[in-house]
């Protein structure tokens, strides 16, 4: 099986690569590429994302044909795709970090700044926080409710259809921390930095 981590030259993806390589069994190839043909022929795609919403969207758009290739993969062929952090946020229609920026528009909704209650809560939301399940998600096989995951973000994805939300986290409000919609998966937290439980989530995604 081929799992491809999309390297669109934005942010630091070393930890994502390391974690997938650490859990991959012998018959699973972890590829890291921006090559459209390799992405097309993959069985699963990982879309990481660090930095601002705008910088990630700009970086995706700067690679000719990449957005359409991802769209075919995820929406037409409906093969499993996991977005991590801004990779998840980009599923939205629009984001407001730096400047109003059009997202991929795969899941209706917006990405806006976490309400920090006038400075009562520090931003970024950095550290370990407990996730609370909203529904069963295949990537949470073997993970207990209220497990700790590692977060680092200031913006949150607010989907219009709440039924896509698979878990939330308590930080000033109930912040969406993962989604599952058919073949689309996304985590706001970083499974690659969430210790053994995070690796379990990665394993679950690979084994889908």
């Amino acid at each position: 099986m081929n799992v491809t981590i999309v390297d669109y030259k934005s942010g630091n993806i070393s930890s994502v690569i390391n974690s997938f390589q650490a859990v991959a069994q012998n018959n699973i190839n972890i590829n890291v590429t921006e090559d459209l043909n390799q992405i097309k022929s993959s069985d699963k795609i990982v879309l990481p994302g660090q930095g601002s919403f705008k910088s990630c969207v700009d970086a995706l758009n700067s690679i000719s044909g990449l957005v359409d290739t991802l769209k075919d993969f995820a929406l037409v062929n409906k093969k499993p795709l996991l977005g991590i952090c801004v990779g998840l946020q980009m599923f939205a229609d629009v984001g407001y970090e730096e400047a109003e920026t059009k997202g991929l528009g795969w899941i209706p909704g917006k990405v806006s700044k976490i309400d920090n209650k006038n400075g009562k809560y520090k931003l970024p939301h950095i550290g370990w926080n407990e996730i609370e399940f909203m529904k069963n998600s295949k990537i949470y096989n073997g993970i207990e409710n209220k497990s700790h995951m590692y977060f680092v973000h200031s913006y949150e994805f607010i989907p219009e259809d709440k039924s896509v939300i698979s878990a939330t986290v308590d930080y000033s409000t109930r912040v969406v921390c993962s989604i599952e919609k058919e073949n689309l998966f996304g985590t706001q937290f970083h499974p690659e930095k969430s210790d053994k439980l995070g690796l379990q989530i990665i394993k679950n995604f690979i084994n889908l």
Binding site: G11, N12, S14, S15, N18, S19, Q21, A22, Q50, G51, S52, S55, N116, G119, K122, L123, P124, H125, I126, G127, W128, N129, E130, H148, Y150, F151, V152, H153, S154, D170, Y171, E192, K193, S194, D195, K196, G198, L199
Partner: protein, 252 residues
Amino acid sequence: MLKNRIIPCLDVKNGRVVKGINFIELKDAGDPVEQAKVYSDSGADEICFLDITASNENRETIYEVVKKTSKNCFVPLTVGGGVRSIEDINKLLNCGADKVSINTAAVQNHNLIKEAAKRFGSQCIVVAIDAKKTDENKWSVYTHGGRERTDIDAIEYAKISESNGAGEILLTSMDKDGTQSGYDIQLTSKITKAINIPVIASGGVGTLDHLKDGIVKGGASAVLAASIFHFGTFSIKEAKEYLKSKNVSVRV
């Protein structure tokens, strides 16, 4: 609820841990990779490497260390010490560091933090502030590993760092560092109140109560310690259990 983080710091020199934990089961106590693994297995919320390599020709060693560690360590890894340029940050991130802490170079060049935050995102840019009390209610920023005094006010500098795009502040009290008498709570509290980004308290931990004070009295989001963990005075697990017993929320 967001948990307070416990961060062990390892001093690395020429690619080797100095003052490291000396567990019998470790094959090589000077190996940063093994030490980081021990810490993450025992519940450390993050690992911090401080590169204290003095000579320029050996500076490359830290990259190898980070590369190897990040392949085996799946909690966040912060690396600092001698980071001077965008290129240094880029190299550390590419080797697998999750955050880079910048000290002297950030004082000398405010644009460095602005550029770094823009290019890599605030989430991976930590501004390390070494501060020393120089007057009543006045703390000055020191650079070059605490050897050189500047006229910059530490609290003002923390605010500037926040507006330049730092994602976190790593605050070390030069007065307290190495004394094992507790964090500088007055300084920590002033800075955590002055800014809206998380502050990691550092310098002076000798007891588990000091960790608690850093969080409860100082308002720090995370507490960093070196010696108490290095010398095996306390384990990470003991620290967390203690904090939990005092109603400080930690990941256990």
